[in-house]
Point group: none
Chain length 209, copies 4
């Protein structure tokens, strides 16, 4: 039996999970190693043995969060109709953000820290290439079907779509307070999704048909 490795692996996972929850709840500075260790059911010193420093632990949590999303994206199957596929992409993204606010929070924290932790991670580890490929394919298919405008940049498209979904969720609290729209209510989520789809369709589709 590879029992050393098994034990280590399980411990690592437990710590990572506990750390993610703690970082999301309290931010990087606000999170304490004590809480993380307690939640993971292990000794504080063991957390250090596995991750060396709080900062490096956060980095691993962040990488894991990115990887989870990218894995899901890679598995995702789009409908044949390019417009339906675009709609699905909007729905998938908004729903993922809504159901995984942890991801947004972690990335939000990381942006507050100017990306210092992510910088230390290789782009391969983040699996970005796959995503761009997916959007490129979608646009190509739409253009070939005579439905989408030609010449659109896939990163621009993804950036816009992501922006619309992102702020809807990540800015939810302040928006709810200032503008009275609370996306955490299901009906408002639907309404917002409809708007996002509308915006994206009009941006991507040919206006002359």
């Amino acid at each position: 039996m590879a029992s050393y490795e098994e034990r280590t692996g399980r411990t690592r996972e437990a710590i990572l999970a506990a750390a993610e929850a703690e970082f999301v709840a309290n931010g990087l500075a606000g999170a304490t190693m004590e809480n993380i260790a307690k939640a993971a059911g292990v000794n504080k010193a063991l957390v250090y043995r596995h991750f060396e420093r709080k900062e490096l632990l956060f980095r691993q949590v962040l990488v894991q969060a990115y990887r989870r999303l990218r894995n899901l994206e890679a598995e995702f199957r789009f409908p044949d109709d390019p417009v339906a596929a675009l709609d699905e992409m909007c729905g998938f993204t908004l729903r993922y953000y809504l159901n995984n606010p942890d991801f947004l929070t972690l990335v939000g924290i990381e942006n507050l820290h100017r990306g210092e932790n992510l910088k230390a991670v290789s782009r391969e580890e983040l699996g970005v290439a796959t995503l761009i490929e997916i959007v490129t394919n979608l646009l190509d298919r739409g253009v070939k079907a005579g439905l989408f405008r030609a010449g659109l940049d896939p990163v621009d498209v993804w950036h816009s779509l992501s922006s619309l979904c992102w702020f809807s969720v990540a800015g939810a609290y302040t928006v709810a307070i200032t503008f009275g729209r609370d996306i955490h209510k299901p009906e408002e989520a639907e309404a917002r999704l409809a708007v996002i789809r509308d915006v994206m369709r009009r941006y991507v589709m040919r206006a002359d048909i």
Copy 2:
């Protein structure tokens, strides 16, 4: 002489300014009252005398930041042409975010904290009404001129525009790392603004003209 009040006022301002810088640089948990006091050139105890608690100090900083933006928006004069006005609105917003990253950071922090501080502030203090009024007027003028679609919701429009600008700046660091687009470079800022204007025009304008 209003010298007491003047001095007090100046001290208050100094503390608020120092606090904003500190909160932006280190987050809510990471900021220290010691640093704030030192940067403001006053005694730590005096900070407490003026703002009672760290949390309340953050709240005031946040309110001030919102007020600054809303004041600027209220003063803003749009061109007569509705399309030009929409373009200007996109430009104004993106530029404001780019030039005042503190605002984004503060609101980002507040969202990480689920809006708990902002909740305690009255909507009047935040000056939201004015903004909605501005967007409503813009849409009305566009519709009357036969350029914009009828029936658009001003909050939806503002929300979309704000999303596009927001994420472009607030997510800049992670986006730069993952997708290689760095909006802090002037030429990339211009390119992004062009995309945002394109998205917003196509969303708001009638497709049949």
Copy 3:
């Protein structure tokens, strides 16, 4: 009343005294700030407020210890007879070391640390000049009286005298174990002093008289 300064001064003294005892008992690494604070009857954080770091606290303790000895040396009055004065100097030094083992211990610790702390202290603060002056005077008087050899270097003389006394006390524990001579017994202290005086006399005095 200069009550701020008075309070501060008293606190400082209490901490320094407690720190000296702790450093002597447990060494630099072995000493804990917790113990020092407790012994001084103050809060741990206050120790930091006054001395910033453990290392700097040790430095001050060391300076104080040197100063105490140098002050005593400066006050010391020697007999007129140069030989008696030399004897007295041996007695004074050995006795000081025996009665103030803390001084030896602190300097011993500092030597283990290669003098890193003392380096940061100015020579004036250490009051070295006075000591050399004293030895120079003693030698001069001896030479003039036709009792001492001419041309002796005062630093060499002090160095030798100090060595003989120093090792007798600082090496006492290992010497007691290995050679069975324990200077902490009064009669052995007397015997050792007699040897030291004999060594020093023969070194300093003219052999031809």
Copy 4:
């Protein structure tokens, strides 16, 4: 094959060597088992298997250091001329201390700890008898040759000689700072040795010749 024992023996040596360096560099409290294990290229737990506790490891390091010196002393061959032999003894001792500061440091540490570790070691293990014998022989030969005073106590002589050499090296750092004499410079080492020889000759030799 004695391969087990050989391996064990080599591991033991490696640990002892690593431990000596670590204790000398950081003191008893400052040394860490982690560092020692790493430097020895073995596992921390193995260090415990071999030496049980940090304290016992230090004890063995100390014993080894004493043994090395005593072995060297036993092997040493003195010139026939008693005065030259005395000179040689001074030179040998000062040089040994200068070239093996580890020994001084270890004994210094041990004295700071009041000899608690050395007490647990038998005098035979320390090889003291040989040293006394050597000095006794030297004095006897000098007396027989009509050069040395009769009735000198060998322990007193060794104690004085050792003191002069010891403090010159063990107190080198603080002396360099306070009195500007740095024995780590070769020319100053020579000068100091000359003084020590002068002191010892005058102490031991008959004054009437």
